[in-house]
Amino acid sequence: MSKHEPVLLKNMLQPGYTGSLADYEKTGGYQALRKVVGKVPPTDVTGTVMKSGLRGRGGAGFPTGVKWGFLPKDYQGPRYLCCNADESEPGTFKDRQLIERDPHQILEGILLACYAIGAESAYIYIRGEFVLGARILEAAIAEARTAGYIGTNILGTGITANVWVHRGAGAYICGEETALLESLEGKRGLPRVKPPFPATHGLYNKPTVVNNVETLANLPHIISRGPEWFSAIGSPPKSTGTRIFCVSGHVKRPGNYEVPMGVTFRELIYEEAGGMRSDKPLKAFIPGGASAPFLTPDSLDVKLDFESVAAAGSMLGSGGVTVMEEGTDMVWAALRLMEFFYHESCGKCSPCREGSSWLVQTMRRIVARRGRMEDLETLVDLCKNIAGRTVCAFGDAEISPIMSTLKHWRPEYVKMIHEAEAANLIHPKRILAQP
């Protein structure tokens, strides 16, 4: 058992907890909502969240309270809250567990956020493959509606807050907030050009907040126990609270582990997740989902908070920690991720669309022992040409597996290319060059 006290996973770790409304209420559920709705001004709720230092759990780590504060104050007309449950980052599976095992915790968070930003409608954009999760959420919403937590007159205060579930159709890009909004509007899920940002021109061109599932699930606890309690957890002042890390790969006990931010990777991998699967040494790990650059064992003592991981040359991202043991073929691993990004590149902007197809084909060639030395230079060049020139952050994400493996494990690439030369599998262009 973990020595850290879980917050978000606490309920579901209790034996017999079903995630029903009755169970949730028994553990003090919806008390935070009762505490504030109609009693505390919405701006104070935002203030509390701002004070707690809560940062977005979806990947970018933007301070939640600040994000809410960007909504135009004097805007007359609807505002929207979108719960981003399009969890598709390879190696990340925390939102799924939160949705399936404790849906009311998320709903309470959504209602609190709705109250704080003055939204009357909230949409949960859930990944299409999460069929079970969508059904559970629908059932939970129906329960909460009957109990008077959701509807046109929540808890008799006359305040309206409706929650709707919308299932995606299977595109990774719809996890990007503006693509999510496009998809929610019924259009092709392509990211929008920013600015304008969703805070002013979001869903249906109205002020909109998009928050991750885990971010919203934190809200009831912050409201109930106070911002001071929350900001004392983790490594304040910048990374407060706990985080659920999804540990996968070559470990003994893969799964979701909720730890305060600021513990080290060593603790997470060797203590929480039980260490390496076959007791081989660790070779590499991805600290925050497929979009985060690989790290080496040298970084095992890096703290799990936003700044420390960034300083180590990667990012905390979505919290998906993928561990690889000695003997893993890093070029193959990079190709595997590149295949994913190639498949999911939406095709809106040229560098990402063409770059991903170019990169993946070159990588496939290298792995198939048909590479050549110039390819490595081309790979780096292409990655640099994609970085920072795309519409959304996808472009920066897709180059990270290649850039980081080339940085740390370049000899593996070189070895493959030498093998290619030895096997005399000549690149097609060289055949043309021969007399």
């Binding site: 050009v193 902007c349 040229s350 197809s357 060049d381």
Partner: protein, 585 residues
């Protein structure tokens, strides 16, 4: 110098310029003569910033910005010619060229292709791309439009044009990533209005016209600007010929009142000129059958016969009929010939049929038959009432102004048409309508009366008008009282509520434009219906600025000085004599 709030000053490559607020950087750059390369940007479309070709350096911004989506701000300093920017352009071009088939020798766009021009500009002579290019299976697209998706740079200009400007939404990107291809929406060949907009707006050779496929290189063509005579919209077109052959018709961006937009007739209709059954030689009837002859002989024959008839029966024995599709100049010459040479005023044209119903009503109400509405008035209107227009088919370019008013300026569109909103890809104007009364052409008059009754009974008559012209208001009130809602409902199939909600929308308008179409003007009693429409404008107090003199419902007249009024009859908007409607429509 003090800056006004409406303009901002910025520098582009060190050149200072002052531009209106909201101007995009790429447009500001063009004003100082700096062309930023681009594919997806087009002045008619909302910025999409997907090609990433127009990246520029903006001072104080960490990353390169797309100039097509960045709005110029006060004090901004933009650099388009630095090494960083040049390298960015080159790299984006390298990406765009990676999957391009480079089939320029057989591409119709070759010679007028943006991708070619930029490749030349950035001397993209060699490629590092050693992988397999993506290949799309060739698919039959439509009888008029050809697609070559391998050439596509996925700028989505065509899709956006089809949606934003035409409001047809016939095209859609299908697939994801590199395998995105432009297809008709649904598993069938393209089924749309065929305005040709996608062909005109494609920056490369991905969408081309099948009518001129493989027939020319752009530099072989001789170009001449002229006016399209297929309807009364008076669009400027450019005819392109190779030798004696008419190869292509298009319209340059920004040209004429149509601003470069064309419809199916304008863009694809030119093949009528080379149709085998077209008469190209004069014919003389000999022994009961028409025989081909030369122009010299034919004209001499006509001259002899006119002289003979004039001597025998006098000039009044002649009548002149001319097609409404001729140009102003031809029409002028014809009437001059008839009046001066022949000596008769017996003249008529198909452009006049029906149209006279509108002009006479206007003359009676405002003292002149001239239209008071321009395209700008339509775009800036806040309420538009269309009666019997079928505007997307009869006058597509006027229809575009209506679409722009509704889509970009949030105008309220009210329609009384014999159309149902279209479900398929062939759209019509009622799709955009807030209040649509679908009535049979024979009942347009009843529907207008119902609307008038709803306006009067809904108390939407301006108080100032009541005081200024109490006779008129009381006569109109009495007249509409004689109509019963039951009769109106029986004839039009529309309930009192639908008239009332349309009337209240109409009443909210501050700049109301009424467009009366051919279906209305050619119907029975069109003159009376036109008068009723003018009544609508009068009681609506759309009379703040102009010269409306009197107005009448049924036969009651009352003098009235008014100040504003907007009214037009599409179909013959340009002038009475300019272009007639397609005669059988």
């Amino acid at each position: 110098m003090a800056t006004t709030t409406d303009t901002v000053r910025l520098t582009i490559d060190g050149i200072p310029i002052s531009v209106p607020k909201g101007t995009l950087v790429i447009e500001a750059a063009r004003r100082v003569g700096v062309m930023v390369p681009h594919f997806c940007y087009h002045p008619k479309l909302k910025p999409d910033a997907n090609c990433r070709m127009c990246l520029v350096e903006v001072e104080k911004m960490p990353k390169l910005q797309t100039s097509c989506s960045t709005i110029a701000t006060e004090g901004m300093s933009v650099r388009t010619a630095t090494t960083v920017v040049h390298d960015a352009h080159k790299s984006v071009l390298e990406f765009i060229l990676a999957n391009h088939p480079l089939d320029c020798p057989v591409c119709d766009q070759g010679g007028k292709c943006d991708l070619q021009d930029f490749s030349h500009q950035y001397t993209a002579t060699t490629s590092r791309f050693a992988e397999t290019k993506r290949i799309f299976q060739k698919e039959y697209f439509s009888p008029l439009i050809e697609t070559q998706m391998n050439r596509c740079v996925q700028c989505l200009r065509c899709v956006r044009y089809c949606d934003e400007v035409m409001d047809v939404k016939a095209l859609a990107p299908v697939g994801r990533g590199t395998m995105t291809e432009i297809k008709s929406f649904g598993a069938h060949p393209l089924d749309c209005e065929f305005c040709g907009g996608c062909v005109q707006i494609c920056p490369v050779g991905a969408i081309t016209s099948r009518l001129s496929m493989y027939e020319y290189r752009p530099w072989m063509l001789k170009r001449a600007d002229t006016v399209c005579s297929f309807c009364g919209d008076g669009c400027q077109i450019t005819v392109q010929t190779k030798g004696q052959e008419l190869i292509e018709v298009n319209s340059a961006q920004g040209a004429g009142r149509n601003n470069g937009d064309l419809c199916a007739r304008g863009f694809f209709g030119f093949h009528a000129t080379s149709h085998p059954s077209r008469i190209t030689q004069p014919l003389i009837r000999r022994n009961g059958s028409l025989v081909e002859t030369t122009w010299e002989e034919a004209l001499e024959y006509v001259a002899e016969q006119t002289k003979r008839i004039k001597l025998a029966h006098g000039a009044q024995a002649f009548g002149g009929l001319i097609s409404g599709r001729c140009t102003n100049e031809e029409l002028y010459l014809f009437q001059k010939f008839m009046r001066v040479t022949i000596g008769t005023n017996n003249l008529d044209s198909s452009a006049r049929y029906g149209h006279i119903n509108g002009t006479q009503a206007l003359r009676r109400v405002q003292g002149t038959h001239r239209w008071t509405v321009t395209f700008e008035d339509i775009v800036q209107a806040d309420v538009l009432l269309l009666v019997g227009t079928n505007i997307t088919e009869a006058n597509p370019i006027t229809g575009l102004q209506v679409k722009e008013a509704v889509k970009k300026h949030d105008a309220t569109l009210l329609t009384i048409e014999a159309l149902q909103p279209a479900i398929g890809t062939i759209s019509n104007i009622t799709n955009l309508s807030q209040h649509h009364l679908c009535v049979a052409p024979s009942q347009f008059g009843t529907a207008v009366l119902g609307l008038l009754k709803a306006v009067v009974e809904g108390n939407h008559i301006d108080n100032a008008l009541r005081q200024r012209a109490s006779d008129y208001v009381s006569s109109i009130s009495q007249a509409v009282q004689q109509l019963s809602w039951d009769d109106l409902a029986l004839n039009t199939g529309m309930s009192r509520e639908s008239f009332a909600s349309m009337a209240s929308s109409l009443a909210k308008g501050r700049r109301v434009v009424v467009l009366a179409g051919q279906t209305l003007l050619r119907s029975q009693g069109a003159y009376g219906i036109c008068l009723n429409l003018l009544d609508l404008l009068l009681v609506k107090e759309q009379l703040k600025w102009a010269r409306l003199r009197n107005c009448c419902l049924a036969h009651s007249t009352s003098p009235l000085r008014t100040r504003a009024h907007r009214w037009c009859v599409p179909g013959k908007r340009s002038s009475l004599w300019l272009q007639g409607p397609p005669s059988s429509r």
